[in-house]
Amino acid sequence: MDFLNYFGNVFTPYHLMLLFGGTTAGLILGALPGLSPTMAVALVIPFTFHMEPASGLILLGAMYTATVAGGAISAILVNVPGAPANIATALDGHQMARKGRASEALHYCFLSSFVGGIFGIIILIFFTPPLAKLALKFGPTELFWIAILGITVIGTIGNKSVIKGLMAGLFGLAISTIGDNPMLGEQRFVYSEHMESGIHIVVALIGLFALPQILTLLEESGKSKVGIYALSETKWITSLKYNVTRIKALTLGSTIGAIVGIIPGAGGQIAGLVAYDQIKKTSHSPENFGQGEPDGIIAAESANNAMVGPSLVPLLTLSIPGSPTAAVLLGGLLIHGLFPGPDLFTVHAEVIWTFIDSLIVAQVFMVVIGLFLSRHSGWIMKVPPHYMAASILVLAVFGTYSIQSSYSDVLLMGVLGITMYFASKLGFGPAPVVLGVILGPLAEDNFLQGKLIGEAGDGIFDYFFTGTINLTLILATLGSIAYSVYASHKMNKRVMLK
């Protein structure tokens, strides 16, 4: 029960203020259509640089939790999911809004998110420490394969094209090699003074996520806005009474969300859709789904938030993120000198348990602020895209500069961002590139160490390709590629049949 020992750390005025600010900002940013939770968390990372590790992680955790739930606001009010995770919520949520039940739909969304979120954190608390102990058995080769598995999983599962996803991961790895060689200290690919110290993780995070977002928002500026449905005056207590009777939808959503979250790379988008599909299939009146059925929202939103906690389990133990936002959070951990694995729960126990405990409190803040916002959320939808673009640009430049007070970082962020924007037009997603940049040093360090040990022993091939853990990780990597190829082939076939 280690997590109980550090609960008090969350209840300091400073941490409570961070939780309040992070949750409010996360809900608003999540509700803005087109702003992904991943970008929101990436944008906040530089501001945590000047904080204590626990405080920084508390802010990031609150943002992560709130952006996922906030995305449902725009899904319900304007039928534009704030994030991919909220696609399933829009199916019935928007229909309820069209029928004048927008407030009720938002209440169900936040109440179910709270239930799912708490369930997910319980999974995180009890699953993480035993899995972290497994990481003790990992040597250089296992860590190298872990990095490769992480990049493969994010690259293949989250992308329409498997090959483009894998190439994006490799581009990220290539970017990570700019600067010093980790073993010999010699510089590589340094063609300008701006590149001398390599590319900082946060510079890559902001450049790859925020700048393409700005340019996409500019593309959308001037387009006509969608109508927002009036928010009725339904009391939240009435919604709560109904919500607690929907035990099946809550249980199904929370369980599916937790399972999907723990699978690396699957992410909230799948959790919400799977939960929605299952509750519809097991319902006595499936014909009501898509027409404004509250169970559709309850299952989807409880699944989305139940995914958040478990997505951190493989991240905190094995460095494998459960979702793209968790990949960004990995960057947040590393800049504070926190490396996933057993050390997190021994050497940095206070920091990591304070962070996990704060996620529980963040859920409480999320439901309270969310219920309040559900009465006043109409204005969020009215923010024009070019206002958002201007704000993100200023914050992105500010955040990048403040990391090392370096003008070079700002230039590199700009170059990376513009390149990523055009690459995304060609079908390359930013998440695998970012993970490549983050896990690149881990992969290279351990590859070179493994090579030295292998040369001194039975040979490099034997060292890298034998051993139960190595083989399991290699099989998992190949399995994730094979599954993605199969899924993509199946989807293409379905498209052709249609």
Binding site: K164, L170, L184, R188, L218, A389, A390, S391, V394, F398
Partner: protein, 161 residues
């Protein structure tokens, strides 16, 4: 209509594959030409893998089936670059100005430029203009209070602030 969309899609996939091949080829060249094998070992492995994948992408884009193409839409739209070009220019000016006039002053001008260029064209309406100036000042002032005064994060001050 469907036929032209399919051709566009195939063209865009071929373009993607071609660019990927060029980037992978360039990375290979930079990793192998006049470099030390020990220092560049890891980048070389990445470069070769990247090149192999780009060749697979190139071959697969040539082999896209007709029926698949019929159901696909190109993601590359005409005139897109023209729409984002002013934004890119503003961003470039911002990065240049930041060091000269200071972060907060340049942030104000850049924010205002975005609102004027991408918002509704209301240049003749003084009220709308004043509103946009006020919003820009408000945004930068909040940033200044929060980060400069509150968190003591130092940014380039240049000639002004």
């Amino acid at each position: 209509m469907i036929k032209s969309s399919a051709i566009n899609f195939k063209n865009s996939e071929l373009t993607t594959a071609f660019y990927s091949f060029l980037v992978a080829g360039l990375f290979c060249f930079l990793s192998f030409y006049d470099t030390d094998a020990d220092i560049y070992l890891f980048p070389r492995i990445i470069a070769v893998t990247l090149l192999v994948f780009s060749v697979i992408l190139l071959i697969s884009s040539f082999q896209l089936s007709r029926s698949y193409l019929k159901n696909s839409n190109s993601n590359v739209k005409n005139g897109l670059f023209l729409k984002i070009l002013p934004g890119l220019l503003i961003g470039f000016i911002y990065m240049t100005l930041m060091d000269v006039v200071g972060f907060y002053t340049s942030a104000f001008f850049i924010f205002l430029a975005f609102l004027l260029l991408y918002g509704k064209r209301e240049m003749t309406d003084p009220k709308a203009f004043i509103k946009k100036v006020a919003i820009s000042i408000g945004f930068v002032f909040v940033l200044y209070l929060l980060f400069w005064q509150g968190l003591h994060v130092r940014t380039p001050i240049g000639l002004l602030l």
